[in-house]
Structures are given as structure tokens and as C-alpha cells.
């Protein structure tokens, strides 16, 4: 006979309580706010356990049958008496994302549990990316395709500074520093402290603007809401403009360390949406931290780039690192624009 509260709580989670025990638990919760708090904390763990294992199930099953199809399939292939597969949870986050785009009806007509689980994983990645951690990425351009039609406005503009070999430092709150070299091999640095943006070229004054997007035209992705310098914003865009799937990576690509497995989330652009054709995110299955992002056919002026960002470090940078003054000589002329 269960009498102590901890047993009643666990019995409740596992559907083992009699009516009398259920009433006893209810009375215990109401008796004291501290009791309610203990119950709430226990439920957080119980709920997180379910979500965690449901994701594992989705990753490894990699099946995209609708719910009814899955149930039928499992009746054939599984000996286990599955009482409730609970795959619908992931539709919740799918619903949220799709509402954002005003496309709920469309989503539910095509959504699958795997896609929804992928959105749930994307949520974890987004939450991780929102944390105040400094991150440094190396940028490698794998391929450049130029739009040879040359009729767009971008084709009239001067060539963009190359990105291959660039280093990108990011901090939450729209702060970044992007260090790269011009085609002449001279340093070219752009950045933002979250309140001002700035651009430092070898020649001419340091340009500073209160518009934090003032110098974005020299950054890929800004035209399509997938800015390279603000992964968090780009990840939000993936939630509604892309179809998501995911899988694990083989040990030849990433060696698991201390139980940390690398997972691959693949986002493919929906028709009529703007942005890179495909985005591949390699992330830590435990922390949700982004280890590598690969953009395929990312618009950059008249070009389409295949490029990847690889995490170099998560070491804290100096507090003033995202100020322009940290990146040029003190006697440089500074020109402030509106």
C-alpha cells in the first residue's frame, strides 16, 4: 500500500494508483505549496524523460509513415505490446512553427512525426544558441556558382569580399565580428556590438552606424533572413521555410565522446521560399550545441555559395571584443553614419 508522497507521485506517473491513492495525492498537493512544487519538479523530469526517449525513437526509426501506418507496421514487426506510441507530441511544435508562417493547414496535411521530431530538435538547438556563450567559427567556401544571367541588381555592384578562410565570432544579442581578407589579401573586418554596426577596411575611415544591419550587404544570407552572423535568427527561419529531417552521423565523421553523439539535421527549402537550398546542421545530441553548419547554394550577390561554418571554440572573448575599437589602431578616423 503506497502511502508516502514520493511513492504516490511515482505511482501516478506509472498509472498505478487506486482512486483512494489518487485522492490522497491530490489532497497532499493542495495541502502545501511546497508539496505542489515537489510534484511539479518530479513531473518536469518525467515529462523530459518521455520527450528524450521519443526523440531517440524517431532518430533511429527514420520512418515517415503517418500515425495509422506506423501502428499497423508496428503490429506486424514488433512483438512488444505498445500501448501508446505518443508520436503526436512532436506535432505540437510543428503546429507552433507552422502557425508562425500562417500555414497550419498545409503543414498538417503533409506533416509527419519524423518532421515534427526534427522541429523539436531544432527547438533544442535554438535554445542552446540563445544562451550567452561566445562562439568562434571557421568559414570554408566549398563551391561558388555565379548567376550568369547578370541582370539582377546585385550584378551591378562591386564584387563581395571573399568568405573562404574567414573567422566569425558571435555572441548573443546580435553581436559578431567577421574577419576576412579582400581579394587583394588585405584585412576587412565587419561587426556589431548589438547597438551599432561597424566596418573596418584598410583604407578610409572606420565606418560606424546605429543601424545594426548597415553593412549587411557584404554578408551572405541577409537578403533571405538566414544571416550568417546571427545563427539564432537563421534557425528560426528554418522552422517554417524548410522541410526538416534528421539522422545520426557515422563514427567516421564524428567520434562520440563521453556519450555525446553527433546528429545531423537536414533542412531543405520549401518551394517559393527564399534562402539557401539546403542547410545541414551537425549538433551535439546532448547539449544541442551547433558543431557545424553547411549551407548549400546560399545567395550572396550574384553568386550561390556552398559554405560551411565549423565551430572552433566556445571560449569567452574579452568583454569589449565586439567593439570596433578593439580591432583598429586608436588613431584611426571614425566616421559615424545614421
Amino acid at each position: 500500500m503506497m502511502t508516502n508522497p514520493r511513492e504516490l507521485i511515482d505511482g501516478y506517473f506509472d498509472d498505478r494508483l487506486t482512486v483512494e491513492q489518487h485522492e490522497a495525492l491530490s489532497e497532499w498537493i493542495k495541502a502545501n505549496p511546497e508539496n505542489a512544487r515537489i510534484f511539479a519538479n518530479a513531473t518536469l523530469l518525467h515529462d523530459r524523460l518521455r520527450n528524450t526517449f521519443a526523440i531517440v525513437d524517431e532518430v533511429h526509426s527514420n520512418v515517415t509513415l503517418p500515425r495509422e501506418g506506423r501502428e499497423n507496421a508496428s503490429n506486424v514487426t514488433l512483438a512488444l505490446p505498445r500501448e501508446d506510441k505518443g508520436f503526436l507530441f512532436w506535432r505540437t511544435t510543428a503546429a507552433a512553427a507552422v502557425l508562425i508562417a500562417g500555414l497550419a493547414t498545409l503543414w498538417f496535411s503533409v506533416g509527419t512525426s519524423t518532421a515534427s521530431a526534427a522541429i523539436r530538435e531544432l527547438d533544442r538547438i535554438i535554445v542552446n544558441s540563445m544562451r550567452s556563450k561566445d562562439r568562434t567559427y571557421e568559414i570554408v567556401v566549398e563551391d561558388i556558382a555565379t548567376d550568369r544571367r547578370g541582370k539582377g541588381p546585385e550584378s551591378q555592384r562591386p564584387p563581395k569580399p571573399p568568405l573562404d578562410g574567414a573567422t566569425l565570432h558571435v555572441r548573443s544579442g546580435n553581436q559578431f565580428v567577421l574577419l576576412r581578407k579582400t581579394q587583394q589579401g588585405l584585412p576587412f573586418i565587419t561587426g556589431s556590438n548589438g547597438k551599432q554596426s561597424w566596418s573596418i577596411n584598410t583604407r578610409g575611415p572606420v565606418r560606424v552606424s546605429s543601424d545594426i544591419h548597415r553593412f549587411d550587404h557584404d554578408l551572405p544570407g541577409h537578403e533571405t533572413s538566414v544571416p550568417l552572423t546571427n545563427l539564432h535568427e537563421g534557425l528560426q527561419q528554418l522552422k517554417y521555410a524548410y522541410d526538416l529531417t534528421f539522422s545520426t552521423l557515422g563514427p567516421e565523421e564524428y567520434r562520440p565522446q563521453d556519450g555525446h553523439e553527433a546528429r545531423l539535421l537536414i533542412a531543405v527549402k520549401k518551394p517559393k521560399e527564399r534562402g539557401p537550398q539546403r542547410v545541414e546542421i551537425v549538433y551535439d545530441s546532448i547539449t544541442g550545441g551547433v558543431m557545424r553548419v553547411r549551407f548549400v547554394q546560399m545567395p550572396y550577390g550574384p553568386d550561390r555559395l556552398d559554405l560551411r561554418l565549423s565551430l572552433l571554440s566556445e571560449e569567452e572573448l574579452p568583454a569589449n571584443f565586439f567593439e570596433h575599437t578593439s580591432h583598429h589602431a586608436p588613431d584611426r578616423k571614425v566616421e559615424t553614419e545614421d
Binding site: 498509472d15 491530490s26 505490446p81 506510441k85 505518443g86 507552433a96
Partner: protein, 174 residues
């Protein structure tokens, strides 16, 4: 993307674990929980324009969750194994007060799960991945339902202790 939509999804992404747990506290069946949470997501995002940003978002979302849970329970009013309105309100307040730190600590769960081996791990998989109740697990493993329930209780205790230990260690290092 519209700034308001971005804000809505940002807030909802952060609030969802707590709201999800609140729903799970009242709606035990995982599938039903998923359906209720889905309707809450829809309602939260549809009515986001009416959210007063000077108020805590979790409390506002919890209000919507209470309404959706109320609708769910009205359809099941004959079930005696559901909490009464007063208990649900008490829980709502408790979940609103869940500290973000408490919620964040649960990010360490995956790490603690990775250290779980053997029967403990298998029990967790059967309970949470296959969604089997102790009686079904017992018949699969040749145990009594009571032993399974006790073992699950122990596993959850172990995980809770592991999370607390890891959190204390992380806190001490920062």
C-alpha cells in the same frame, strides 16, 4: 520573418518545457498530452498579439493551458482518476514558479542517461520509448508489476541525483 512572430516563437520555445510538464501533470496519457499541448501551441500563437509583454510569458501561456486542459477534462468528467479543479490550479501556480534554473538543469538529463546501463536503461526505454506501463513491462521481463514500479522509481531517483550532482559541479566550476 515578422518580428512579432519571431518573438512569439522565441518565448514559446523557452516556455514549452514547463507548459508541457504542467500538461503531463494533469493529463497522464502521453498521447492525450500531445493533443492537448498541440492545441495550446495553436492557441498561444494565435493569440500572441494580445499578450502583455510586461507580464511573465509562462504565466500567460499557463492561463491558456488551464483553459485547454479544462476543455479536455470536461470531456472526461466521469474519470475519477483526474485531479479536481483546485489541485489543477495549485499545480498551475507551482509550475509558473518553476525557476528557469530548475528547468535548465534538466538539460543534464541526457548526460545522466548516457551513464545509465543494463536493466535500468532497458526499463527506461520500455517505459518512455515504448510507453509501456509496469504491468506490461513485468510480463515481458518476467518480473512482478510491483518490482518494475519500484525499479522505475529508483531509476528516476538516480537520475534526479545525477542531475543535481552534475548541476552542483557545473555551478562550482563557473
Amino acid at each position: 520573418m515578422d518580428e512579432q512572430y519571431q518573438q512569439a516563437i522565441r518565448y514559446w520555445t523557452l516556455a514549452q518545457p514547463v507548459v508541457s510538464a504542467y500538461v503531463a501533470a494533469v493529463v497522464r496519457d502521453f498521447r492525450d498530452r500531445d493533443d492537448v499541448l498541440q492545441s495550446i501551441s495553436v492557441a498561444v500563437l494565435e493569440s500572441f498579439a494580445s499578450y502583455d509583454t510586461t507580464r511573465p510569458f509562462v504565466a500567460w501561456a499557463m492561463g491558456i493551458a488551464r483553459n485547454q486542459i479544462g476543455t479536455y477534462l470536461r470531456e472526461r468528467k466521469r474519470n475519477r482518476l483526474v485531479f479536481d479543479a483546485e489541485t489543477i490550479d495549485t499545480l498551475s501556480i507551482a509550475f509558473e514558479q518553476v525557476e528557469s534554473e530548475q528547468n535548465r538543469k534538466l538539460d543534464l538529463l541526457q548526460e545522466c542517461l548516457s551513464k545509465l546501463e543494463g536493466r535500468a536503461r532497458h526499463l527506461c526505454e520500455l517505459r518512455y520509448q515504448n510507453d509501456l506501463k509496469p504491468s506490461s513491462i513485468a510480463s515481458l521481463l518476467g518480473m512482478t508489476p510491483n518490482t518494475v514500479a519500484k525499479s522505475l522509481q529508483r531509476v528516476r531517483d538516480q537520475l534526479r541525483q545525477c542531475i543535481d550532482r552534475r548541476a552542483a559541479l557545473d555551478g562550482g566550476q563557473s
